[in-house]
């Protein structure tokens, strides 16, 4: 067995807002009819979290589900559980039109945590991050600086960012620079 290594191998920036690369994460891009009960039940049984509504992500540690588009959900499981999960999805959706692909090694996960985490993300993404518009559980696919990224709020002071592995270094430096710049102070709770 080869030794899988994540994009930045747990690189961490410690400051008022901490950025750390979260290591290997199993990710399955699942496309199909999202209204299908079988699809929802296999997703929830694999991850142990509720099926997300539009624009939402539910996560519990390394496991989670994220609403990617009207016909796509991202299934997150432990990195070594992906093959098993793919087999379970194929079994549950047998005969149904769907596509499930292991994209784990194409991606990187960055965790941003701290009191002004909203400011850090808002500096980089064209997204309304006001607490009224983007709260815990909200998920958004957009961009950070010049690269595509998706992120969701795990709680009020913690955001998980997913980007392509090839741009993980850029995304990390970008978040680090935004964190070092300090809070902007436009949001009520920062």
């Amino acid at each position: 067995m080869f030794n899988a290594v994540s994009a930045l191998d747990h690189r961490t920036f410690a400051g008022d807002v901490t950025i750390r690369e979260d290591g290997l994460r199993g990710m399955i891009s699942l496309r199909g009819d999202m209204s299908l009960a079988k699809l929802k039940s296999v997703c929830t049984s694999l991850t142990g979290v509720a099926f997300p509504a539009q624009g939402q992500a539910n996560s519990d540690g390394a496991q989670g589900l994220a609403w990617m588009s009207p016909d796509e959900v991202l299934v997150m499981v432990a990195h070594d559980a992906v093959d098993d999960a793919l087999a379970k999805i194929a079994k549950a959706l047998k005969g149904q039109h769907h596509l499930a692909v292991n994209v784990s090694d194409a991606r990187a996960v960055l965790i941003v945590e701290g009191p002004y985490v909203r400011d850090v993300i808002a500096k980089l993404a064209p997204v309304d991050l006001h607490p009224d518009a983007f709260g815990p559980g909200s998920f958004r696919r957009s961009r950070l600086g010049q690269v595509a990224a998706a992120f969701w709020m795990r709680d009020d002071q913690s955001v998980a960012v997913i980007c392509f592995r090839s741009v993980a270094d850029y995304a990390f430096d970008l978040l680090k620079a935004a964190a070092q710049g300090g809070p902007v102070g436009h949001f009520p709770d920062s």
Partner: protein, 109 residues
């Protein structure tokens, strides 16, 4: 800066997250059409100063297409709607007429 509401994922999306797909509601002229019709279909586009219907691709987001009605002059957005429509829905037309009483649908500019 232009912000459009993506009807597919329900988000208000900045222009930089989108890719413009040009004029909407084109009718395709393929095999069997005249040379003039084919040329018009391929190359001739409206370029109005005012109300315009456009295709937009939410390329940094959900990856889906949608259509938008907006004013090219003031950047006012009248509404966005599903790409799976052959012509603008009535509520969009009503909204445009409310804001631009002298606008005529389909008039050449």
């Amino acid at each position: 800066m232009l912000i459009l509401h993506c009807p597919n994922c329900g988000q208000n999306v900045d222009e930089t997250d989108l890719h413009s797909g040009g004029e909407a509601h084109l009718k395709r002229f393929g095999p069997g059409s005249s040379d003039q019709e084919f040329e018009d279909y391929l190359f001739m586009r409206e370029n109005p100063k005012g109300v315009h219907f456009e295709r937009w691709h939410h390329s940094f987001g959900c990856g889906k297409w949608f259509l938008a009605a907006r004013c090219t002059n003031t950047l006012e957005v009248f509404g966005t709607y599903s790409a799976q429509t052959l012509e603008p829905p009535k509520e969009i037309i009503d909204r445009i007429i409310a804001r631009r009483p002298d606008w005529v649908k389909g008039a050449k500019t």
